[in-house]
């Protein structure tokens, strides 16, 4: 780990950490990243592992998507992340692609970002000199832009264990000509108190803005209310309003906005049903 950080520091800004290589290598094969030095992180044990620590779930940045899919802590404490991992690219890519890689790549359509946003995740960035934690929401700045510095690595990602009486869900809309990247995706996480009122709501959207984002206003209308059709519909409407999609070859902005509302509503209904019938 020390050597990897030293290498990155030495080669900055031309050093490029290489983990699963599912984005980087494919880009290299079409002629990008020429003149850069790849720092292979593939064998760093420090970047692996999924654990419960002090009320948090902590996963190493080098955890593969397949590992997420297989781990009971993820199945128990990160339902939307597990659902996202299940539909992430394909099994071969899942065997290679890492969580940190997906987040650092900072595609607006990164599939793991919405569920981790919904879980309220933070990321740990380390360099030879320092270690810092930032919330994932702050970490993501824009299209292919994050707070990570050229000499830093994303060592781990963590989130608080969701409380009792919580539920979450993820869905992505794909199956469209021209591209395998999702047209839009969304994740929700809700928790209720004993009286059935919502005490926590997070709604996150992917491929609907320059970076994956939280729909805060939509979350606010759910706070303190029972999770019922009317509130859910309003939250879904506000989530669609928060979306700032573009029109591209994969879908029009209008379509994305309209379907965002449908998907967020369905996810909230699904989550509320899961709360009623745990």
């Amino acid at each position: 780990m020390g050597e990897a950080l030293a290498q990155l520091s030495e080669h900055a800004p031309q050093g490029n950490p290489l983990a699963g290589g599912t984005n980087l290598v494919v880009e290299m094969r079409v002629g990008r990243h020429q003149g850069k030095s790849m720092v292979d992180l593939g064998r760093l044990k420090e970047l692996r592992g999924i654990q419960a620590q002090n009320g948090h779930i902590v996963i190493g940045g080098g955890t593969t998507v397949s590992e997420l899919l297989k781990h009971p802590l993820i199945a128990d404490h990160a339902v939307p992340l597990c659902q996202s991992a299940a539909v992430f690219a394909n099994p071969l890519i899942r065997n290679r692609a890492t969580v940190a890689g997906n987040l650092v790549d900072a595609s607006p359509a990164a599939d793991l970002a919405p569920p981790l946003l919904a879980l309220g995740a933070e990321v740990e960035l380390v360099s030879r000199e320092h270690t810092r934690w930032v919330s994932l929401d702050e970490f993501m700045v824009g299209v292919r832009k994050t707070l990570i510095q050229p000499d830093e690595l994303m060592r781990s990602i963590r989130w608080s264990k969701p409380p009792k009486r919580s539920a979450g869900a993820f869905y992505k809309v794909g199956l469209r000509k021209a591209d395998a990247i999702s047209v839009l995706s969304a994740a929700v996480m809700v928790a209720c108190d004993t009286s059935g009122r919502c005490k926590l709501a997070r709604i996150a959207l992917g491929a609907l803005a320059p970076r994956p984002l939280r729909a805060y206003e939509a979350e606010d209308v759910l706070q303190g209310q029972p999770l019922q059709a009317e509130g859910i519909a309003e939250a879904a409407r506000l989530a669609a309003e928060a979306a700032r999609p573009i029109s591209d070859i994969r879908g029009t902005a209008e379509y994305r906005k309209r379907v965002t509302e449908v998907i967020v509503r369905r996810l909230l209904v699904q989550a509320s049903e899961a709360l009623e019938h745990p």
Binding site: L18, V25, P91, L92, L175, R176, K177, G251, V259
Partner: protein, 939 residues
């Protein structure tokens, strides 16, 4: 160079590699393990899958050095791996095991078609059953998502994996016939039986060799400089810097083509190398041969070309305008194709209902998983050999010879196995280039396209605009159909003339229409060329006419199946081109059997069934497709059958095996006629020095013409044998029976090997060459028989539409195909399911996107084709309305299966949600918008 130490298939390997090499390249090119294929270099297609420490990875993007110290398992190591396990588990007959149960089940179950994807699929499946010893269908769909099989034998793959998993679990061998097939006629000795294709073991072990799997000593590697401009004049080409690069052996431009400057299957309009101007992005401007592929690639960047951009022609309607820029000097019209029957004005006047609409279809891409590859080898005797996976080896030879300015006899074309063609490997790709470079350097030269180049370069399915007007009486009788078609044939003719002719002649559907008028304009543009693609134009026009038939049924308030049945072609009716159908028209039976099956599922198939925001409904369509070239083209094929003294036979012909199973068809015909066991017949395909010309592998023709050639060659040989035996054993030849590898003659049982020896002793060779001429056809416009046979189909699709998102999914397909006679029900079913799934892609996901001459779809990631997760349940019904002249009654099947699928799906979408799809592929975005707006049609 760095040292890589890795265990491959249980053996420690030390190999020097460059840091930039990938595992697939090391396996294939340094270790010679060519069972691992490369399809895309983008981690999109999965054909390169190997196991690294037990985990399946895409080896094409797996940096080789990441495998340092790892255990790598490839297809070549699978059987030894299983032998070791079988021994450890003390399984019965362990030492005798030749194949892993997965390989065995894939082979017996008919999963491989072209076979190119199979090593990757099997390795992915191996990892799955290691994890899940009893995988469900869903487990398989998850594990194989994006491990593509373009022949789309997904149900065969699923069955094979489950069968193999059971064998691994229990240690019991794979059953000989793993699963059920649709019912077909009682088989003969060989014909009609579900036999594994002769090349199947090679295809499941990785031994099957495709063009890039060949390597020759001192072989150079070639690359092509592509224009990168859609329409431009070439002002200057400077190759000096490229030539000066160490390791570069030759750089050739148009000036270096010694013979004919152009090639082309119908019209020689396609420059081997462009000298004065380029007409699409993928045009070849220069070719390079160098010591390595890397040097050749580097040299590409050193060639300087000055272009003067010219105005673009981007669509066929613009192309036809008088002031449009000219793509070719003679103008942009490739051909105006006309069909005339009766008097349409009168037909519309007689109609109670007249409907008219315009439909659009996009360019689509074959996406055969094996990118094009050719190897040219100068021979010591001055001749030149070209290895290539091509659908038309003899025409390759003619075209190579013409460009080289050499006699055809100088050239030998050896056809390798083909990793999928679907029409996309009929035109010249690298064949001429490697010949030129081999001549220039005196060394063997390999030209391998990467996926990006393949997508950019090769001809597509024609994009079309089809306007159709249809008139009918209140009782449903069609009175007139008028169509106007525009076909975008792109920069070069390729087979555009023939494809659009087929689109036009079939544009009124498989119906008895008294008055027909069709006009088609096949236009040159600055888009990539368009040529042959399974369905050959009929895929496009079927979408238009079958959509209209459903609309007519709705307008008249009649059942869509009944309406089609009422108007269906049948014996005694006359086609649009004036051909009286005298026999073998199984359309009505297809319709009836699909109808009966739907009845067994639901009494109101066309009515939507709502469940929350989702609606399900069925839709249907019919179709027909000619077998053979037709239109007056001489259609012949030759085959030679030789009997050896060991009692085996060989059949030789130059038909191409592109996954359709032709190699099995000719072996079966030969075995049937000679009374030999199927396993005793070997097949040698596609070597212009050794195998006679079978014509192009196109137009669903090979089973018919080459099946007949093999059948009649074998029959001629049998008759010759009978003459010999008759004399020796004193019995009339017609009394001699040939069965089970024996001739039964006058109480004797003479093994055929012995019979061959007797013939030789008489000074006669025990072989026979037969050139089969298919029945004469007539050119379009002259009336009479334009084609010698047609296949027919009726298909129904159950579709679910999500009314809130516009997403549409196909849940199941029911289909009946009249293919005359099932020669091999196993291969037939593979063709049918694969064709239908290709049709599903055509309906829902596939579009090759070009914007203003610029290609968007230049990576495989940008082209969605159906994967196993899209593959619905298929119920297949075989109708065998025999054609007298076909081999044992057989007609073609290659194309018909993919023709009605698209309109069956779009009609189901209408039945589910009330919106008609007027443009392909179905766009969930636009469909949702139409639903919200209450529009009845979506463009």
């Amino acid at each position: 160079m760095v040292s890589l130490k890795v265990s491959v298939n249980g053996q420690d390997v030390h190999v020097e590699v460059r840091e930039s090499e990938y595992l697939a390249e090391v396996l294939r090119y340094r270790l010679g393990l060519t069972g691992t294929k490369i399809g895309c270099n983008e981690a999109e297609c999965g054909v390169c899958t190997v196991l690294v420490n037990g985990t399946p990875v895409d080896s094409c993007v797996y940096p080789a050095l990441k495998a340092q110290g790892a255990q790598v398992l490839t297809i070549e190591g699978l059987a030894p791996d299983w032998r070791a396990e079988a021994k450890r588990r003390k399984l019965e007959g362990a030492s005798a095991v030749d194949l892993h149960p997965l390989q065995d089940a894939f082979a017996r179950g008919g999963a491989p078609q072209c076979g190119f994807c199979i090593p990757g699929v099997i390795m992915t499946a191996k990892a799955l059953i290691d994890q899940k010893p009893d995988p469900s269908e869903q487990d398989i769909k998850v594990a194989l998502k994006d491990t593509y099989c373009r022949c789309a034998g997904y149900s065969f793959i699923t069955n094979a994996i489950q069968t193999a998993a059971q064998s691994v679990r229990t240690g019991r061998p794979v059953p000989p016939e793993p699963f059920a097939l649709p019912g077909t006629k009682t088989p003969l000795n060989v014909i009609g039986r579900p036999l594994p294709r002769p090349d199947v073991v090679a295809k499941v072990t990785g031994e099957a060799k495709y063009a890039d799997d060949y390597h020759f000593p001192s072989m150079l590697h070639a690359r092509t400089l592509r224009a990168g401009h859609a329409h431009a004049r070439i002002k200057r080409i400077d190759t000096r810097a490229a030539k000066a690069l160490p390791g570069v052996r030759a750089v050739l431009t148009a000036a270096d083509v010694p013979g004919e400057p152009n090639h082309g299957l119908v019209y020689a309009d396609w420059p081997a190398l462009c000298g004065d101007k380029v007409r699409y992005l993928g045009d070849a401007v220069a070719i390079i041969a160098a010591d390595t592929r890397e040097i050749a690639s580097q040299a590409l960047g050193l060639i300087e070309v000055d272009y003067e951009p010219l105005p673009l022609v981007t669509n066929p309607v613009q192309a036809r305008q008088p002031d449009a820029p000219h793509v070719h000097e003679a103008g942009n019209l490739l051909k105006h194709i006309k069909v005339r029957k009766g008097d349409v004005d009168q037909g519309f006047a007689e109609a109670d209902v007249v409907l008219e609409r315009e439909f659009r279809t996009p360019f689509t891409e074959h996406a055969f998983l094996e990118p094009e590859c050719a190897i040219g080898i100068p021979e010591p005797n001055g001749r030149l050999t070209v290895y290539v996976g091509s659908q038309i080896p003899y025409q390759d030879r003619a075209q190579i010879a013409a460009c080289l300015g050499e006699p055809e006899a100088n050239i030998r074309v050896i056809g390798t196995l083909i990793g999928g063609g679907f029409g996309g490997k009929e035109d010249i790709a690298g064949q001429i280039h490697v010949a030129l470079l081999a001549r220039a350097t005196g060394q063997p030269v390999k030209m391998l396209y990467d996926r990006h180049e393949s997508l950019t370069f090769h001809p597509k399915r024609h994009a079309t605009i089809i306007r159709i007007k249809l008139g009918a009486k209140r009782d449903g009788t069609l009175t007139a159909v008028q169509t106007e078609l525009y076909g975008d044939t792109g920069a070069y003719a390729s087979l555009g003339d023939k494809v659009m002719t087929r689109a036009t002649t079939h544009s009124a559907g498989p119906y008895n229409v008294p008055n027909v008028k069709a006009d088609c304009y096949a236009m040159y543009t600055n888009n990539p060329p368009a040529g042959a693609f399974r369905g050959f134009g009929v895929t496009q026009s079927a979408f238009a006419v079958e959509s209209m038939m459903d609309w007519l049924a709705e307008t008249l308030g009649v059942d869509p199946l009944t309406l089609r049945r009422q108007n269906a072609l049948r014996v005694g009716t006359v086609t649009n081109t004036g051909q009286l159908l005298r026999e073998s028209v199984g359309l009505v039976e297809c319709l009836d059997r699909v109808g009966a099956h739907l009845q067994s599922l639901t009494c109101e198939p066309w009515r939507g069934v709502v469940s929350g925001s989702r609606v399900r409904a069925w839709g249907m369509a019919a179709g027909y497709k000619n077998t053979g070239l037709g239109g007056g083209a001489p259609d012949k094929s030759a085959a030679e059958v030789e009997l050896f003294v060991d009692g085996t036979a060989e059949v030789r012909t130059s038909a191409a095996e592109i996954g359709q199973g032709l190699v099995g068809v000719v072996a079966m015909c030969t075995a049937e006629e000679l009374g030999l066991p199927y396993q005793h017949v070997k097949v040698l395909l596609s070597d212009t020095d050794l195998t006679p010309d079978a014509g192009p592998t196109t137009a669903s023709r090979q089973t018919y013409v080459t099946g007949n050639a093999a059948r009649l060659a074998a029959r001629a040989l049998r008759e010759a044998l009978a003459t010999t035996l008759a004399e020796k054993y004193d019995q009339p030849p017609e009394m001699i029976r040939f069965e089970e590898g024996l001739a039964r003659v006058n109480g004797h049982e003479v093994p055929l090997g012995e019979a061959a020896r007797l013939m030789k002793r008489e000074g006669r060779e025990p072989k026979a060459l037969y050139t089969y001429w298919a029945p004469q056809t007539q050119p379009l416009g002259t009336g009479g028989d334009m084609h010698f046979a047609f296949s027919y189909a009726a298909q129904a699709a159950e579709v679910e539409v999500d009314l809130e998102t516009g997403q549409a999914h196909v849940l199941q397909l029911v289909a009946a195909h009249d293919i005359g006679r099932a020669i091999n029900p196993l291969a037939l079913e593979g063709q049918i399911e694969g064709g239908m799934i290709m049709g599903l892609g055509n309906a829902l996901t596939e579009e090759y996107i070009i914007d203003d001459g610029q290609i968007f779809t230049d990576y495989l990631a940008r082209y969605k084709m159906p994967s196993i997760k899209h593959a619905p349940k298929v119920t297949s019904i075989i109708v065998e309305d025999e054609t007298a002249e076909g081999p044992y009654g057989a007609k073609g099947v290659g194309e018909i299966a993919s023709i009605p699928t698209t309109p069956a799906i779009t009609n189901a979408i209408y039945n589910a949600c009330g919106v008609r799809v007027m443009r392909l592929p179905v766009d969930q975005d636009k469909l949702l918008l139409a639903l919200k707006r209450g529009d009845k049609e979506v463009y």
